[in-house]
């Protein structure tokens, strides 16, 4: 079969369009990086486009002088690790048990879980509940009320259903293995791929979470990174910065430079906050895609 003239043009146009799409997605990310290491004055006046100009790491130095950033980073690492661990235990246990074909009452239990995906109490009743449980300003508030996502549990359950044939359970039972033993010896070893996918989904969720913290955490010492970021990037809260490099005595000039430095620190912050996720991303991308696909089969 020979390609027609039309098809050849189609392919060329297609490659061109997709290249433009890639560029449009990459450029803003690239711009963040070059803007964060360029002279703040040149960035603010629109002189930095392709390569960094007036190379400096002052933005980063200033950001790192602020304890809130370090505390936020440490808190987020804590919430992500502990939160994901809790998520995995709760999700995998529940999903495994509900994947068993002959479990009496399975339909009702699934119904109880699935209903919450379509209907819920909403923001305010949940807020009142958490408040009355005394969870405000505790680390637990970012972990326990987010202990499981029903959607992820269903994905995991689907995985178990297809990965472990029913005959295997029957055989284990014949050998006198208890349900718990079968889970430890057969279920868990087989579930490594789904645990990887779930750890990634939950982990990114915790890393990026800000709204629960906005609702329930008022103590600065407990702020996750995203909440610190919100105060700086969105509410324009000023960070401490060092101006030894500014020698001008001109009052207005100092103010302008200060504003530009604040902007430069924001670019640095965006980079610092997104770097861990985006750096790990190319290596784990295929797991994410796999997870998204298992999810869609069920949906």
């Amino acid at each position: 079969m020979r390609e027609t003239q039309f098809d050849r043009i189609f392919y060329i146009v297609n490659y061109a369009v997709l290249s433009i799409v890639m560029l449009a997605i990459l450029y803003p990310l690239y711009f963040i990086v070059i803007a964060s290491i360029s002279d703040p004055q040149l960035v603010s006046t629109g002189n930095v486009w392709i390569v960094p100009k007036g190379l400096t790491v002052e933005g980063y130095q200033n950001v790192f002088k602020n304890d809130v950033i370090w505390t936020g980073y440490a808190n987020t690492i804590f919430y992500t690790i502990v939160g994901t661990a809790v998520n995995l235990v709760v999700t995998v246990l529940c999903a495994y048990a509900l994947s068993r074909k002959h479990l009496p009452g399975k339909g009702i239990l699934m119904g109880i879980f699935v209903l919450t995906m379509f209907f819920g109490g909403g923001l305010v009743p949940s807020y009142i509940l958490i408040k009355s449980l005394g969870l405000i300003d505790t680390r637990a508030v970012l972990i326990i009320p987010a202990a499981m996502s029903v959607f992820n549990m269903i994905i995991t359950r689907t995985f178990f259903q297809s990965a472990i044939p029913d005959e295997l359970h029957e055989a284990a039972k014949m050998d006198g293995s208890s349900e718990w033993h079968t889970f430890i010896r057969i279920g868990l070893p087989l579930s490594a791929p789904i645990i990887a996918v779930m750890a990634l989904f939950y982990g990114v969720g915790h890393w990026n979470q800000y709204f629960s913290a906005l609702l329930f955490i008022y103590d600065q010492k407990l702020y996750p990174l995203q909440l610190v970021l919100r105060n700086i990037l969105i509410l324009n809260q000023q960070l401490n910065m060092d101006f030894s490099s500014v020698r001008s005595t001109d009052e207005i000039n100092v103010l302008v430079r200060q504003a530009n430095m604040a902007e430069s620190m924001k670019y640095a912050l965006v980079f610092i906050a997104s770097f861990p996720v985006l750096a790990a991303y190319p290596f784990v991308q295929k797991h994410f895609v796999k997870g998204a696909l298992i999810g869609s089969l069920k949906g």
């Binding site: 009496p104 924001k266 965006v270």
Partner: protein, 307 residues
């Protein structure tokens, strides 16, 4: 073996599986406390909630809170912002991943294809705070990169963040930048599942690539498109809350105030619990009805549905 009578047998079965029930217990306790108790708390929409009395004992007041909401001068503004923001997003954000997936599917060079996927999926993992921060940085009227670009081309600048007229466009197109790539995953999987013989046959019949896309690829992924459309419709009145809240400011609030941000402001910040629970309930019921309706319609017309 003697046959046990039925209830007895069932009891034995439950005992046999008790370890499995124990495994479900933490998840069930979690879902009951953090999902069903708030659902139970919805009753305060019809009560005057007082902290000391709780969900249960606060006095009933009927539909007072709903009436107050319907009579609110900004009621129609809230509704129209919510509806138009979501319709705008549906009109732009829904078709683009489909088109993108069809184009990626036509890129036969493996390396190129992999790169497109890798790069377009990436923004999906940027947090909503960082995303909103980037939007505000880039669109800044004096210092923003995009305004520098616009000024070079046209000579003037645009106040994206303070002009209410721009809010919805900023919201929708930043969403496209962030999520269009990720949205292609499901379509690409569906496209990979199309019978290669169909594609061969179309070639023999002399169809060009565009005709092949139109007559084979699109019908092939139509059920997938429909299912996703139903899901999006069922989320019509509640999506995007976190980003809207972050991008909202005093100057654009006329265009950016939606039901959910209003609930947050008056409920959480202002403590008007019963009133905002009523609004939340109104919103949730609307959402649920829409989902059921769209699903029923799809079922009748095309035999594709969620349940």
């Amino acid at each position: 073996m003697k046959r046990a009578n039925k209830p007895d047998k069932r009891m034995r079965k439950v005992a046999e599986f008790y370890q499995l029930y124990l495994m479900i217990f933490p998840a069930l306790a979690f879902i009951v406390i953090f999902h069903y108790v708030p659902m139970y708390g919805l009753q305060i929409a019809f009560k005057d909630f007082r902290n000391t009395l709780g969900f249960m004992n606060s006095p009933w007041v009927g539909l007072k809170h709903f009436e107050r909401f319907f009579e609110l001068p900004s009621f129609w503004n809230l509704i129209s912002n919510t509806v138009f923001l979501n319709l705008y997003e549906l009109a732009v954000g829904f078709p683009i991943p489909i088109i993108l997936a069809l184009l990626i599917n036509e890129a036969k060079n493996k390396m190129f294809r992999k790169s497109v996927q890798m790069i377009t999926y990436a923004p999906h993992f940027i947090s909503v705070v960082v995303m909103s921060g980037m939007i505000i940085l880039f669109l800044n009227e004096e210092r923003g990169m995009i305004n520098h670009l616009i000024e070079m081309i046209s000579g003037f600048k645009i106040s994206f963040m303070s002009d209410p007229g721009w809010f919805k466009t900023v919201y929708v197109f930043s969403g496209v930048w962030q999520n269009a790539g990720w949205g292609t995953i499901i379509y690409l999987a569906a496209l990979a599942g199309i019978d290669p013989q169909l594609i061969e046959a179309s070639k023999i019949d002399g169809a060009n690539r565009l005709q092949k896309i139109w007559h084979i690829d699109l019908p092939g992924i139509a059920p997938t498109i429909l299912i996703l459309l139903i899901l999006v419709m069922g989320n019509m009145f509640s999506s995007g809350f976190e980003k809207i809240l972050l991008l909202q400011n005093q100057l654009n609030i006329r265009a950016s105030d939606v039901i959910s941000t209003y609930v947050y402001r008056l409920g959480v910040l202002d403590g008007q619990f019963s009133y905002t629970t009523a609004i939340g309930l109104f919103n949730a019921v609307l959402n649920f009805l829409l989902l059921v309706l769209v699903n029923a319609y799809a079922k009748k017309r095309t035999e594709t549905s969620l349940w």
